[in-house]
Symmetry: C2
Subunit: 135 residues, 2 copies
DNA sequence: CTTGACTCCGTACCATAGTACGGGGTTTAT
DNA sequence: ATAAACCCCGTACTATGGTACGGAGTCAAG
């Protein structure tokens, strides 16, 4: 199968496949006489693996680690599980940060009556002073 | 005040101030005879404004919008409030996405007993097939 | 056997938010 | 007056995950 077919079936761009190859996530397949890459069908599965791991928050570097683990006969579930748990906690941290931001913005938006000049806007005021406006 | 002082007091890097200037977030102040930038003390407040807005999730482009609004006498609280509300909802969306990821990972991690070879790992299995392992 | 679609490669570019560097000139303190 | 510390400018580089481009060669259908 040629790169275009693989790309279509895996749901990515041709350029993305070449990019993954440069990053070491995919090994370059044999080429035909014309120099075209000839992919086995497992290539599609590998690209989908990458997509799925990415969707769950793994960076390409981390996906590479996961893929490398797979070729290591000493690797066990524990290796994968610990990476998943690390990822869960970093995601958790990001959620906390975002919730903090959201709560602050909600407080400010609630304090803003939505009319009047900017120099009375509690949101702008907060940005200027980093204090809640004293009543 | 010179750039180094401003940077120190605002809690950013000198380079960052020059970067913000290039981005139009800060106007270039007058320079002394030697060509050094001479900042009024309001510059510190402006940089802190940028920092605070960034901490609440606004990108530099959005911060620029906010700052530009301030110079517009027609602008009202409503303009700021609507930007805050937009930001709240994009943050909300990101939280939802992250929660979805976290839930999926938690399900997978829970399904993984944490020992044994990788080809029996439900996490790897999910990445390969995007299905929950059938029992 | 020609045309269009596909692929090759290397490089440059996108956004984001800066950081780092190098070779100069300036200011300040001793 | 000299050295340290500061600042100037432009450019390049960081990380992340790709996308775009251009000129060339190849493959398949008519």
């Amino acid at each position: 199968m040629r790169i275009g077919q693989v790309a279509k079936r895996a749901g990515v761009n041709v350029e993305t496949i070449r990019f993954y190859e440069r990053k070491g996530l995919i090994t370059q397949p044999p080429t035909n006489t014309g120099g075209y890459r000839q992919y086995p069908k497992e290539a599609i599965a590998r690209i989908r693996f990458i997509k799925r791991a990415k969707e769950l928050g793994f960076s390409l570097t981390e996906v590479l680690e996961l893929l490398t683990l797979q070729t290591n006969p000493q690797a066990t579930c524990a290796d994968v599980k610990s990476r998943a748990e690390d990822k869960i906690s970093t995601i958790h941290g990001r959620i906390k940060d975002l919730q903090k931001m959201r709560r602050s913005l909600e407080r400010l938006a609630a304090a803003c009556k939505g009319s009047g000049p900017l120099d009375e806007c509690p949101i702008i005021d907060c940005f200027e002073t980093n204090k809640k406006k004293e009543e």
